[in-house]
């Protein structure tokens, strides 16, 4: 990953029908000091709680061993010995796919039991150099080690067998969708949308697999993870008026001169931006009642919202997930966050005294705190690069 390349990592999964917990585990970690990103997908034997425990144990152990640069064949043996034995099948079993990328662009992939991952250069599938290794202590536990020198525009896509076996037994897909079917679908999707984000691609793949299933009901847990090596998509967000009024110009210049998406959160903030840019703010009345203020339109800005209430709601969505039926300013904001790689918050620190009025019926969070909360979530849970600047 040279300076100008960002790894956009995301996943999507759905749970087997009738289970309320997914038996596939997906863990990611970025190690900033080594400029390294690692993801592990593990599919636990069976489904439901038992599978979830097996998968999470496997994924957590694999992540620790890989991040700690342990010799992996030996690590895999330790993992297999540590896993509980299934009472029904008398085997301990959870599969894994590990993707480990470093700043040099070198990606290492270790797979056991999962369908083989797909590497795409644009919309073209790449052949991987692989070697197979077997554990002398565990039969039929072949691990595949692969390497790829990535370039911007490359993707590594990996999934659980719920994806490749989707539709198995139906007339159209007797043997399931298979890795080849999945590969052709991905090639088609990327040919028509070459810059598709990892989040969207993972959803498209899982959605297509689900359509192969009889009555579009998931017969198995289905998970898909995507690494996309791309030039980063930047977003700058201005919120809060600058402490010193003399800094308004400099504040707005940071928005105007930024590349990428531009967001303004706050009433006074939008007023300053509109004044300095010499444009008007338009606020259409919402068509239905909303519980947070509506979005406004400001020329030169991709999204303009109210401040504290919208940011607080966005933090909740980032923490707990967004209800699918909610369309509001906070949902729009979260969508922009998730479709960006590098997010720059410019936070004005002047306090609006009206917000401190003890007779307000709700507590208004201090702007700096809410921005810090959002930044931490974006950085640690969503693996974004985040910068906060106070003015």
């Amino acid at each position: 990953m040279p300076e100008s390349v960002f790894v956009d990592i995301d996943m999507y999964q759905i749970t087997k029908r009738g289970q309320n917990i997914c038996g596939d585990a997906f863990i990611t970690r970025k190690i900033a000091e080594e400029q390294r990103a690692i993801a592990v997908l593990s599919d636990g034997l069976g489904s439901g709680v038992k599978a979830s425990i097996l998968a999470n144990m496997t994924a957590s152990m694999a992540m620790k061993f890989v991040a700690g640069n342990m010799e992996f064949l030996h690590s895999a043996e330790i993992m297999m010995e540590a896993l509980p034995i299934c009472q029904v099948r008398k085997i301990s079993y959870a599969t894994f796919t590990i993707v480990d990328c470093r700043a040099s662009g070198e990606a290492h992939i270790i797979e056991m039991g999962n369908p083989g991952c797909l590497c795409m250069r644009g919309s073209r599938p790449l052949e991987l150099e692989s070697r197979l290794m077997e554990s002398p202590r565990w039969e039929k536990r072949t691990m595949r080690f692969s390497r790829l020198h990535t370039r911007p525009g490359d993707r590594i896509i990996f999934f659980s067998d719920g994806i490749t076996q989707a539709g198995m037994g139906t007339d159209a897909f007797k043997l399931g969708w298979r890795r080849e079917g999945c590969r052709d679908f991905i090639a088609g999707a990327l040919a028509s949308s070459p810059h598709m984000s990892s989040r969207k691609l993972a959803r498209e793949i899982v959605g297509e697999a689900l359509r192969k299933e009889p009555a579009t009901v998931a017969g198995d847990d289905m998970s898909c993870g995507v690494f996309y090596f791309r030039h980063p998509r930047a977003l700058v967000l201005l919120t809060g008026p600058p402490f010193d009024r003399g800094s308004d110009r400099r504040f707005v210049d940071m928005l105007r001169d930024a590349r990428g998406r531009k967001v303004v959160c706050g009433g006074t903030t939008a007023g300053i931006v509109a004044r300095e840019l010499g444009v008007l703010i338009e606020t259409p009345l919402p068509r239905a009642r909303t519980d947070i203020p509506p979005v406004s339109r400001v020329a030169g800005v991709d999204l303009a919202t109210e401040g504290i209430l919208t940011l607080t709601r966005a933090a909740q969505y980032l923490e707990q997930g967004r209800p699918a039926d909610h369309s509001n300013a906070a949902a729009d904001l979260v969508e922009l966050f998730l479709e960006s790689d590098i997010i720059h918050f410019v936070v004005g620190t002047r306090i609006n005294e009206a917000h401190q009025d003890p007779t307000l019926p709700v507590d208004l969070e201090i702007r700096r705190n809410i921005v810090k909360r959002i930044a931490a979530l974006l950085e640690h849970r969503y693996l974004k690069e985040v910068r906060i600047q106070y003015i």
Binding site: G266, G267, T268, A270, G271, I281, T283, P284, L285, P286, R289, T290, D291, I292, P293, P294, S296, A304, E306, G307, I308, L309, N352, E353, A354, H355, D357, L360, P361, V362, L364
Partner: protein, 84 residues
């Protein structure tokens, strides 16, 4: 009868102090006045910081600022202004 423009603030303070209940204001304007009232949203009227205008929520009717604006007060003022 005179046409008036109403702007409803949707800034933080106004929204929590009651402007959230004014989003559907147009539905409450009496039928016979509807053609005479243009209701618009406002990102923020920036009135709460000054404390010179009374308390939030604020709306404006043309150049008049109405503080502590609730439905009945707004409808009363609209009627007065439209009927002149």
């Amino acid at each position: 009868m005179k046409k008036v423009t109403v702007r409803v603030c949707s800034g933080t303070t106004c929204f929590v102090m009651g402007a959230s209940n004014l989003q559907m204001l147009h539905e409450y304007v009496p039928e016979e006045l509807r053609d005479w009232v243009d209701i618009q949203g406002a990102h923020c009227l920036e009135l709460c910081r000054d404390r010179n205008y009374g308390a939030a929520p604020y709306i404006t009717i043309d150049d008049e600022i109405v503080a502590e604006a609730d439905l009945s007060l707004i409808l009363e003022r609209i009627e007065q202004r439209v009927r002149g």
